[in-house]
């Protein structure tokens, strides 16, 4: 029996009729075995309300063969419940928790069936932010520390509850949901595609280009249209600039947290230079308005190409000076090395993605494993890999990726003369009816996955967004176990996960 529809990240959207509707038990038995191999991981898993119940969709990525496996099922969950996949593969935990929170679907044997984000449309309205069921341990020697939801710095809200034995963290639990804005609901409430693009840009404002690219690629697949190689190239420059800016910002933030002012201020200045480059291109420091479906309002000109190349060359040169000095700074290394370890096996079991996974020697990089856009053309991306899985590895991955991305920008632009005029955005192209479309984009944090299901008229009936943070928050909780609580800030910065991207 066929369990999956097999496709790729460059193929067009899939007709719903082509996605097999299977028995949950068969899918469960297959995934139990399949996901034991870390070449596979879950990219998305969600339910859609249909007449008389729910239809579940599951998207699995095969990194070795660059294939995407899609399956669906319509179970009789009210009477029997579903056997939890989280019990075997913890990477399912946020997905099953979300489905449980929204629809009350019971998952038997789920070890941690807690609310995920307290969505406004959750099933159990009695369950509120204030009553989050934090894990606790009895013991006279232990104490608990609560941080948040409002943090000391100018950052987004989220609650962290530590259980400590003296200075040592035994357990950290992260309660999120404070940032919940109803993003996925707003995506379908109004079919204005400019509005949808802006919502995508606001999913996580520090990844505006990443999420807008995911939205644009998804729409282009549904519209059955391809974009020109030049437009793909310009989008790639944009997303690599975003990666450079944020990795530099995090290098500076890590330096701040150990009081290393020189690196902090150098990185602040370099990030300013990077985002001002983006601003001089499209008018916004975060690249909002840069990415639009099927076209662009900000095509590159010869002058802008020169400006970007000069700035990026200078940023690379100066950043490399900081990088070389960091690698020789004993006080910094003493804090970052062997701190906040996440071993490869653990990273794989929680479904870790992006630069955090690569720092734990887990090769997860959509640009290499499921390339789309310009990465799928004559662009062989080789991911930066680090093996220690500590704070230093996560910093080194960032540092190497800044140089790599700067080289990519140079490579993409030095051989580029904008020849034909790039088209203006198209917000009205008809979309394939009764179809499922997904997009996978490697943002600076990692794998962004957007999924849309259209109705019989070609309107978007269901829109699901996954920021890489959804997978990686658990990685942070694991990293700080048995570390001193004073090392929490550097661990937190080494991941720098999104609150709004998680809470949606």
């Amino acid at each position: 029996m066929r369990l999956y529809h097999i496709t790729t990240n460059t193929a067009s959207s899939v007709a719903l009729a082509d996605i097999p509707v299977v028995e949950y038990v068969d899918l469960y038995n297959d995934l139990k075995e399949r996901l034991a191999d870390s070449r596979y991981h879950v990219a998305h898993y969600f339910a859609q309300e249909i007449e008389n119940g729910l239809k579940f969709y599951i998207i699995i990525l095969d990194d070795t063969r660059s294939e995407v496996l899609i399956s669906s099922f319509e179970p009789d969950y009210y009477t029997r419940g579903l056997a939890s996949l989280t019990a075997i593969h913890p990477q399912f935990h946020p997905f099953e928790r979300e489905i449980h929170e929204l629809y009350g679907v019971p998952f038997d044997q789920h070890p941690w069936l807690k609310p995920l984000r307290f969505s406004h449309d959750r099933r159990d309205k009695q369950s509120t932010m204030d009553s989050y069921p934090f894990y606790s341990i009895e013991g006279d020697e232990l104490h608990e520390v609560n941080v948040g939801p409002i943090h000391a710095g100018i950052i987004e809200p989220g609650a962290f509850r530590f259980i400590c034995n003296g200075e040592q963290v035994l357990h950290l639990e992260i309660a999120l949901g404070y940032q919940h804005r109803g993003v996925e609901g707003e995506m379908v409430r109004n079919q204005n595609r400019l509005r949808q693009t802006l919502i995508a840009e606001s999913v996580a404002g520090d990844t505006a280009i990443g999420h807008a690219t995911a939205y644009a690629e998804l729409i282009e697949k549904l519209a059955g249209k391809t974009i020109s190689s030049d437009l793909k190239r310009e989008r790639t420059v944009a997303i690599e600039l975003e990666r450079i800016a944020m990795h530099i910002a995090d290098t500076g933030a890590l330096a701040t947290d150990i009081g290393f002012q020189l690196y902090q201020v150098a990185c602040e200045a370099l990030r300013t230079m990077t985002i001002n480059t983006t601003q001089a291109w499209c008018g916004n420091r975060f690249g909002k308005s840069m990415i639009r479906p099927l076209g662009t309002n900000h095509p590159l000109t010869v002058e802008k190409i020169e400006m970007i190349r000069n700035n990026v060359r200078e940023i690379r040169r100066r950043y490399n000076e900081v990088r070389c000095d960091i690698l020789e700074a004993p006080t910094l290394l003493a804090r970052f090395e062997q701190c906040g370890l996440v071993p490869t096996a653990e990273m794989a079991s929680i479904g870790g993605v992006g630069m955090a996974a690569r720092s734990s020697n887990l090769r997860r990089d959509i640009r290499a494993t499921h390339p789309s856009g310009y990465y799928a053309e004559e662009f062989k991306h080789e991911p930066v890999m680090k093996s220690h899985g500590d704070v230093m590895s996560r910093l080194q991955t960032r540092m190497d990726e800044v140089l790599q991305s700067a080289d990519y920008v140079e490579r993409l632009l030095s051989t580029y003369t904008p020849s034909e005029k790039l088209p203006a955005p198209d917000y009205n192209a008809p979309l394939a009816p009764d179809s499922l479309s997904f997009s996978l984009v490697e943002g600076w944090r990692g794998e962004i996955c957007h999924v849309a299901v259209t109705d019989s008229e070609g309107n978007i009936a269901k829109y699901k967004i996954k920021d890489p943070s959804l997978h990686n928050w658990l990685g942070l909780a694991i990293a700080v176990r048995s570390e001193g609580i004073s090392d929490f800030p550097i661990n937190n910065k080494s991941f720098n996960l999104s609150y709004c991207g998680h809470d949606l």
């Binding site: 809200p157 609901g185 606001s202 404002g205 690196y263 975060f286």
Partner: protein, 251 residues
């Protein structure tokens, strides 16, 4: 090692903007819009129809900067009617002053709406507590940038504190998610009087894309007086710096 540090210092030189009152942003930056009326309304009608936050009215032609996300699409639809300038001085002391009218060449900043105690108490030092209530992180990063090595707003005695108990006012970002509404209220009330309230970013000013979302609760803004409204998505650090400086000026 010491060579490495000297090299970094030499490469970077002085980074701060010498005069924060005299800054010009790149031409590409979309700030204060200038509106022009035409007899043919078809372009502005298309612009108003596509505007993601309904910031544009066509008769009379107005653009509400408190709703605008500065995506620039309306200026593409109606280039004869709407033009974004690089003027970042968009702060307003009254919400209605953010609505731009035809022929207006400068943003409205009504000094008469500023409470006299602001200059008296906060003219020399102003410490703020930022609360993000579903802000998308870009705006929080811009507020963080106001204190960085380039903008260095600290030289004017303005900074951000960790505790509301140490703060002279609150800066609100984000459309105010229902899940943050209570924490925001508690934080505001933990700040001693006299205090100021700054609403930063179009999403905070009007709710932006989320103004009708069932997941937001904006009743906080009905209960408390706002001293400064700052548009933008996100608000540019210079817009924030300029607004705060003018709010604190002695008359």
């Amino acid at each position: 090692m010491i060579f490495g540090k000297a090299k970094i210092l030499r490469s970077h030189g002085w980074q701060y903007i010498p005069d924060l009152k005299n800054v010009t942003l790149t031409e590409e930056f979309r700030g204060f819009p200038i509106l022009t009326d035409t007899t043919d309304k078809s372009d502005v009608e298309r612009a108003a129809a596509i505007c993601p936050t309904g910031a544009i009215t066509t008769s009379p032609l107005t653009l509400d900067m408190g709703k605008c996300l500065f995506c620039g699409e309306c200026a593409k639809c109606a280039p004869k009617n709407i033009r974004f300038t690089n003027n970042y001085r968009m702060a307003a002391t009254k919400r209605e002053d953010l609505v731009v009218k035809v022929g207006q060449t400068e943003p409205t900043f009504d000094r008469s709406a500023i409470r006299p105690e602001i200059a008296k108490f906060f003219g020399k030092a102003l410490q703020l507590r930022e609360v993000s209530a579903a802000g998308d992180a870009s705006i929080e990063m811009e507020l963080g940038a106001t204190g960085n090595v380039n903008f260095d707003f600290g030289r004017y005695g303005v900074g951000f504190t960790a505790s509301p108990r140490h703060a002279d006012g609150l800066v609100l970002t984000g459309p105010i998610s229902r899940n943050m509404a209570e924490a925001l209220d508690i934080c505001y009330n933990a700040i001693a009087e006299p205090k100021i309230l700054v609403v930063c970013g179009s999403e905070a000013v009007s709710g932006g894309l989320y103004s009708d979302s069932p997941a937001v609760d904006r009743s906080f803004l009905d209960r408390y007086r706002v001293d400064l409204w700052l548009p933008g998505a996100p608000t540019h650090p210079m817009c924030f710096i300029d607004g705060i400086m003018r709010l604190r000026e002695k008359k």
